[in-house]
Symmetry: C2
Subunit: 339 residues, 2 copies
């Protein structure tokens, strides 16, 4: 078995032999080095074509120390938000000439630690990581290795770059929109049992700020509680609130999935959307457009998020080694049929 040979099994040396030149010369034409005579270039190119030579990327990597790959570490690729983020990051990567290695952490602490560990194995040139379980402090404590950019809420300022939207502000904007439409009893769906991330809290905070600023009192009953992150959990949360007699005329949801759950729960309870209850989702994923009625949603600028993350990462890969930067990307409220 010819270990280490790429599929073609053709090496630089083979091309050099056929063309009757040295490896360096072949390398020169492969890399479009300027100072190569026309005749030489043609001869070498002919040999390359004849043999179907493809440079072995692994060898090139070992020699250059650059892998041309960046890791995207996210909880689950099949969650709408992450899938869309993945798409944008992938496109951005293609633009910069990088490939994307997707690591699904599946909300597992060990898998998240492994992501950090991978940085030290020279597997990738950089990593874009949205942590869900491990503390940002733990990340900061680890030996600084390959460039890293964090996505989502950094619990506290850390010594690594990260990009996010202003969750509190976005929640406030969402609630203000709802208030502007005349809604007064706005529920929040939902705080999730065992949620250790910061984002729900930040959103809840913005929700409360907007209500207070508008002189609408807070009602603890309007902050719904969910046992988990799943669709069914969301449905149960809103259904039991309704069953318990909680009255509301709007629901701000922590993500589009819960918004879909709200739609379902309201349908079951015979409430009309948006006549009786307005529903505002979060993330503005594709499902918001496809749902009937089409879902209004708080929309983080995912494209901007992806390009900001990549720009930060690229900067570090180019050698920047300063302290952690903190980037906030824009959001907007997309109104569709549910508000």
């Amino acid at each position: 078995m010819t270990l280490g040979r790429s599929a073609g099994g053709v090496r630089l040396q083979d091309v050099a032999d056929l063309a009757g030149v040295s490896m360096k010369t072949v390398s020169n034409v492969v890399h479009d080095y300027e100072h190569v005579s026309e005749a030489m270039r043609d001869k070498v190119q002919a040999a390359i074509d004849a043999l179907g030579y493809r440079p072995n990327l692994t060898a090139r990597r070992l020699a250059t120390g650059k892998t041309g790959m960046i890791a995207l570490a996210i909880p689950e690729i099949d969650q709408f938000y992450f899938a869309e983020l993945g798409r944008h990051i992938g496109e951005e990567a293609a633009r910069y000439g990088y490939r994307i290695l997707v690591e699904q952490t599946l909300n597992d602490v060990e898998a998240e630690r492994a992501v950090i560990r991978d940085r030290d194995e020279g597997l990738v040139d950089g990593v874009i990581f949205q942590p869900a379980r491990i503390d940002t402090l733990e990340i900061a404590r680890l030996r600084p290795g390959t460039p890293l950019v964090l996505l989502g809420e950094a619990a506290r300022p850390v010594n690594t770059d990260h990009v996010m939207i202003d969750n509190t502000r976005a929640a406030r904007d969402g609630v203000e929109m709802l208030l502007g439409r005349g809604r007064r009893r706005i529920a929040f769906l939902a705080t999730v049992h065992g949620d250790i991330t910061e984002s729900t809290h930040l959103r809840l905070l913005g929700y409360q700020e907007a209500l207070l600023a508008a002189g609408v009192g807070l009602d603890a009953h309007l902050v719904l509680q969910s046992e988990g992150f799943g669709f069914e959990d969301g449905v149960r949360a809103i259904s039991s609130a309704i069953a318990a007699g909680v009255e509301f005329d709007a629901v701000l949801c922590r993500d589009d999935l819960f918004a879909m759950a709200a739609l379902r729960g309201l349908e079951i309870a015979g409430r009309r959307v948006p006549e009786d209850v307005a529903v505002l989702g979060w993330d503005d994923t594709a499902v918001a457009r496809y749902s009937t009625p089409a879902l209004s949603s708080v929309s983080p600028d995912k494209q901007a998020l992806a390009s900001a993350a990549f720009a930060l990462l690229e900067d570090r890969m180019q050698g920047y080694d300063g302290s952690g930067r903190h980037e906030i990307v824009a959001h907007s409220i997309i109104e569709r049929a549910t508000t």
Copy 2:
């Protein structure tokens, strides 16, 4: 700049020096080689921990010829079906100890050709590829390099492995279910202008077979036409059929997206689902569960698909070099609220 050194910058040799042993011994403990004395193992492990040694995977690759990565080439990671497939493939990969490199072809011919080309660069040990644009014949013509498994419909038997569901049979099953529920005027949403893949045709074929077998005549007007693959295209297709006075009491959709579009179009037209019209989606993606009413859908066993693909690939990576194998995975009809 210390090119090629992994982030830690500590090499096998460094560990060996510190522990006062040879590289081979260090290598042995790194690989959990059995015949190493306890004392030696502890001493080496201590050195590894002290230095924070991490093996450089690129170097290992060059030496072994195995990259430990497989490429998943799909059109768009943010399409529900592919995102879910990605998740399963990723889990399967983790089980086998491989990492997944995601290549989005974005339905671009050149990007698809590049996927095939990458095989020859030793970038990955194998590729799982769902082509959307290039002909399977073109794939077959290319030099056989790294193991390849195709997903989806292979237009004709080719000399590479592939796994798919029986589209025709699944469509027949779907229509039979609808017939069993008393529906007689079943529409198909939709044939798409410019679609070069085989799958819609196969599904349409099954649809027709079931209708004929049941003695229900075919009506060309019931085969709807769409200008494109998008949600809006689907809505337009069904809306114009309704506007044109086409009568139907059920719709078999080519994917869940079109099923969502059908729900929207029917809502606009004031038709009730499922009372007036039953809707059957395809792919059974998450959106089917989240939609209200919850969508019935033809459900390919994605888990089985992923594991079959991986098994085939693994087999080839282990050296199998026979002719192309053709695997069919199960499907089922999941009934929810729209039928």
